[in-house]
């Protein structure tokens, strides 16, 4: 079994996925702070 390949892929693959989504959470929170939802948004929709 190609164990080292599997473990490398699992460690980095899962790590990158978690980190990227974590980074996106921070960015979305920042964007929500800069551009909070207002009632006008609903009117535009």
């Amino acid at each position: 079994m190609d164990l080292s390949f599997g473990l490398t892929m699992t460690f980095w693959g899962m790590g990158i996925t978690l980190l990227t989504l974590g980074l996106l959470i921070l960015i979305i929170r920042l964007m929500n702070k800069i551009y909070p939802y207002k009632n006008e948004d609903e009117k535009k929709d």
């Binding site: 164990l3 892929m9 693959g13 996925t17 980074l23 959470i25 964007m31 929500n32």
Partner: protein
């Protein structure tokens, strides 16, 4: 002369082999499942018909028949990875990231929902599959047909028919696969947890900026996933811009439908007895099922952790929505939540986690492709 005419007219029948007959029967079964049982009919009907056309002798309609109609479609759409990418424009134009943007914490479920991919990768390697094949099989766990096809067309073209059918079939079987796992991993009190209905909303500007920002960041992190993530975010940007209704309409309907038809037909016509009637096909199906089950287990474990850390404020069922079977997983969560507590309304939060799963699955695939490309170069 008479004998030559008879021989010419019967050569189709005389060239039939038992293997092609078996494949035609498989094609008919898929047609039955698509038409009578309505299981992913958009894909199973073209695939089923493609199998029949591709396996009829002398028809010249298999993807192995150089210059044939379906060979051209296969070479130009599957081998170039064009079809899955085009499908992602349509997918992006259909997705509403609003619930996820209003409550970004649910994005983390989208990461947990991909854990099954990596466990299945280890299993596939243990069963003797090559690196590229193991990655492609594992991505079935993404519950995301186009991503599975994209990865398989890059690294396991021999398993592409089995992988694509498994990916799409399991996507539609999510309402059957997930609930027993969800019930087994939670007690009724946990499933009955009430969460406030989606009061929070994201502003129009955030909805418009998100596909652009997320696209740039994710592509910079894992450029190998750019074709998928780029197209997904392009489709979503078209939708959120609000100024290209015609393009959105074409992406959501005409483009998606046409590409699905061509994709299904070409995959079906590539399912020849020689590359499908083998024991690996059964293993691919078994591993795909395991991947989706592991995804659900990992998501539920995170859900339970968040239930504990939030002191019972977050319903652990949300973890099951972290897969990218959109919107099936979210609906399953809503249904299971309401079974435990009729006053429960989890759909808004579950849709958020589910869209997070969509991003997570592309990210997981992109990360694997990026690592794989470096290993191949070395």
């Amino acid at each position: 002369m008479f004998n030559s005419a008879i021989s010419a007219l019967t050569q189709g029948f005389s060239s039939l082999t038992w293997q092609s007959v078996v494949m035609v029967v498989i094609g008919c079964i898929l047609l039955y499942l698509g038409t009578a049982r309505k299981i992913e009919p958009m894909l199973l009907i073209p695939i089923g018909f493609g199998i029949i056309l591709g396996n009829l002798p002398l028809a010249g309609l298999s993807t192995a028949d150089e210059g044939g109609v379906l060979n051209i479609l296969y070479k130009s759409g599957i081998l170039t990875e064009l079809f899955p990418c085009l499908l992602f424009i349509g997918l992006g134009a259909m997705i509403d990231f609003g619930p996820m943007l209003a409550n970004p914490s649910v994005l983390i479920f989208g990461a947990a929902g991909q854990f099954g991919i990596f466990l299945t990768l280890l299993l596939a390697l243990a069963l003797g599959f090559g690196r590229g094949e193991a990655i492609s099989i594992a991505v079935i766990g993404a519950c995301d047909g186009p991503t599975a096809i994209y990865v398989a067309s890059k690294y396991a073209i021999n398993l592409l028919p089995a992988i694509s059918i498994a990916a799409y079939s399991y996507m539609s079987l999510v309402p059957i696969i997930q609930p027993p796992i969800m019930r087994a991993m939670t007690i009724k009190k946990e499933r009955a947890t009430l969460m406030p209905p989606g009061e929070k909303k994201a502003s129009k500007k955030v909805k418009l900026l998100f596909p652009l920002v997320a696209g740039i960041i994710t592509i910079l992190i894992a450029p190998m996933g750019a074709p998928l993530m780029g197209m997904l975010m392009l489709g979503n940007f078209l939708k959120e811009s609000g100024v290209v209704a015609r393009l959105v309409d074409v992406s959501q309907n005409t483009l998606t439908n046409l590409v699905t038809l061509f994709l299904g037909l070409s995959i079906g016509a590539s399912m020849l007895s020689g590359n499908f009637l083998k024991w690996q096909t059964l293993l691919v199906f078994a591993l795909g099922l395991i991947a989706i089950a592991f995804d659900t287990v990992a998501g539920m474990l995170l859900g339970k952790l968040m239930y504990v850390t939030s002191k019972g404020k977050i319903n652990p069922l949300l973890g099951a929505a972290g897969t990218s079977a959109f919107p099936m997983s979210a609906r399953v969560v809503q249904r299971e939540g309401q079974k435990a507590n009729p006053r429960s309304f989890l759909l808004f939060h579950a849709i958020g986690a589910n869209t997070g799963g969509q991003i997570g699955s592309v990210m997981a695939a992109a990360a694997m492709l990026a690592i794989m490309s470096k290993l191949v170069v070395k």
